[in-house]
């Protein structure tokens, strides 16, 4: 009797959330998928069935190919730089120096800012003007005599312009990665390291053979979180370069084609495409972590 009542209460507690998610998340995902298989162009809904024509058109579309290339370059560089920098900062902070709390906070602060603010500030820093209108980092390099470092930043001809957008993104998110790694490192028991030292290992060997292998789950979590941020990146790129097609990514393409051109079918197709891409990252991770939890 008491069990049933508890069960009933539990269900009642969760059911509003489940209902809301069922309608507003999964229901709308289903509706978007339906729209992506239709011919809806313009303000009046048009659910005429066209099969996978929108997706086929996307794959042939030059602009979407640029999007995918930019996303690949951005994601690869962003993940690598964030992980390396985060790990390095975490190892440095792990040395138990004075003022560790201060440094930890300072490295973590950029994460509290929105991408729009970061984008605007870095747009000024990465100003590519030359000659009499030098400004931002180019002016700094010039004044320091480092003219070799003066560059066109994100206006570099494709495909490498997008690589410069990685700079503000890493500046913002490496603190987060550092926090993850620091927690992971601190979670490794000191006894293991003491035992290694007793066996004659130096610090470098301890990091290589004991600490890093134990950080694999942390790395995986970081890759998942950073990966899905980078696959959906939008506001940072818009803040820095507007709707410049050379730096186009799928989310910007989806926004312009849906709201500027009123082409809802193709916009939905891009949205579902992005959903599938992110799922390929998240779903294996969830099932992997689910399985490991069951095992323990």
């Amino acid at each position: 009797m008491r069990r049933t009542r508890e069960r009933l209460l539990a269900v009642a507690l969760v059911s509003p959330s489940i209902l809301a998610i069922a309608i507003f998340v999964y229901g709308f995902i289903g509706w978007s998928a339906r729209v992506s298989l239709s011919a809806w162009q313009g303000l009046l809904p048009n659910y005429a069935w066209v099969g996978l024509a929108n997706y086929a058109q996307l794959l042939r579309d030059r602009r979407f190919q640029i999007d995918m290339r930019n996303t690949a370059i951005f994601t690869g560089l962003f993940l690598a730089a964030c992980l390396l920098l985060g790990l390095l900062l975490a190892i440095l902070l792990d040395q138990r120096l004075k003022g560790e709390g201060l440094f930890r906070s300072v490295f973590l602060f950029p994460m509290a800012i929105s991408f729009i603010v970061t984008g605007v500030a870095w747009r000024w820093l990465m100003n590519p003007a030359t000659g009499t209108r030098l400004s931002g980092l180019n002016l700094l390099f010039h004044n320091l005599g480092l003219d070799g470092l003066v560059s066109a930043w994100h206006t570099t001809p494709p495909p490498w312009g997008i690589a410069f957008i990685v700079l503000p993104a890493v500046w913002q998110m490496s603190g987060f990665t550092m926090a993850l790694y620091l927690a992971g490192i601190r979670g490794i028991s000191d006894e293991l390291r003491e035992a290694a030292r007793v066996d004659g290992a130096n610090e470098l060997q301890i990091y290589r053979h004991i600490v890093l292998p134990q950080l694999q789950p942390v790395t995986l979590s970081a890759v998942i979180v950073l990966g899905h941020i980078s696959l959906k990146i939008f506001d940072l790129i818009v803040a820095i370069s507007g709707k410049d097609i050379r730096l186009d990514v799928p989310s910007i393409y989806m926004w312009t084609i849906t709201f500027d051109a009123n082409n809802f079918a193709r916009g939905a197709a891009i949205g579902i495409f992005m959903l599938v891409a992110v799922s390929l990252l998240i779903v294996p991770y969830l099932s992997f972590s689910g399985r490991t939890e069951e095992g323990t």
């Binding site: 410049d244 097609i245 312009t256």
Partner: protein
Amino acid sequence: MGKRTWLAWALLVALIASACGPAATPAPGTEGPAGTEPSAGGGEVEVFSWWTAGGEAEGLAAMVEVFNAEHPEFTLVNAAVAGGAGTNARAVLATRLSANDPPASWQGHAGQELIGTYVAAGQIQPLNDLYEAEGWLELMPETLIPLISQDGNIYSVPVNIHRANVLWYNPEVLAANSIEVPTNAEEFFAAAATLQAAGLTPLAMGEAWTAMHLFETVLLGTVGADTYNALWDGTGDWNSPEVTEAIEHFAAALDYTNSDASTLTWDQAAQLVADGDAAFTVMGDWAEGFFKGLGLTPMEGFGWAPAPGTDGVFQFLSDSFVLPVGTPNPEGSSAWLTVAGSKAGQEAFNPIKGSICARTDCDPSLFDEYLQSAMQDWTTDVVVGSLTHGVVANDNWKAEINTALGLFLADRDVAVFQSALATACAATGACQ
């Protein structure tokens, strides 16, 4: 336990009360109370726009005063939505229209941006009767009317007119380099070569849409008004050699622009001209307000001329108002449209906004030096429409052209760009 339960109930009630509160109206702005009087011979007239700041908002307020004086039986509600140069307002409008809750009238760019979006969805009505009753067909330029119509039906009342094909220049820079204001492509490229050799930026350009703005003036200047109109109404050939030449001129012009163009807004590009870092910029005549705002004197601190090759042609864009299908107040909508197209209304709005009347009988003494010359050109020139500002191409077609243009800016492949333009016309434009 009793205190906690009490607190929980209080929070729950507060939550429910806030959720059931007045639903947020979709158009934030100075909205009055809804449904105050019956609409026959009175009632609310809700006018929807994105004129929320600067000269636009003041001009609208002046036109509203004219409306209130002439039609005291109506209450005008200014439902302007800020942000995004109209993208926020259009998104809000789309939501309201699909909920069958149109305002009494709304602002839009005259031409295909309005027609291609709203006529296709059956959401705006023709205004031919109003035009005949008010005599506007005689008062507005003949070449304008087909550009704001479809199948003989006129769909909006243009309030203001801006010119897109204007070449702004710095007279001191030109004098210092002994350059005359160029009137065609050859003169322009000769001047640009001289300026580049002198270490200046010949042509200041800004972000993506200003590149499209430059392209449309170069296209007009190369192919001429007749071919230009034919390209947009489906009878022209985008694969023709004239278009190839236009694209090549455009590519050549791009070589003379500043390298950081994609990071500048249109006014930052105009600032380059004002500061003497660049000699020319091609921009609409809202740049005049910008130059005057810097305290520059016309023809001394800044000068203007028709974009090279376009003398005698007025490439226009216009803000206009429409009559919705299912308007909540038909007499009110008509009254507003009548005022929007009247001499008093347009004379109230345009001097403040910095544009010229769509009518040709407005009083020139109300306008400044540049606008007076624009008014003169408006009565005599051939009128063609702007691409960037929504006259000649609907949103879908324009977005396709925008993508093709963006790709061209990256790779400068003339043949690929031309075939993309032809494909865009066939797939989403008038060539179907």
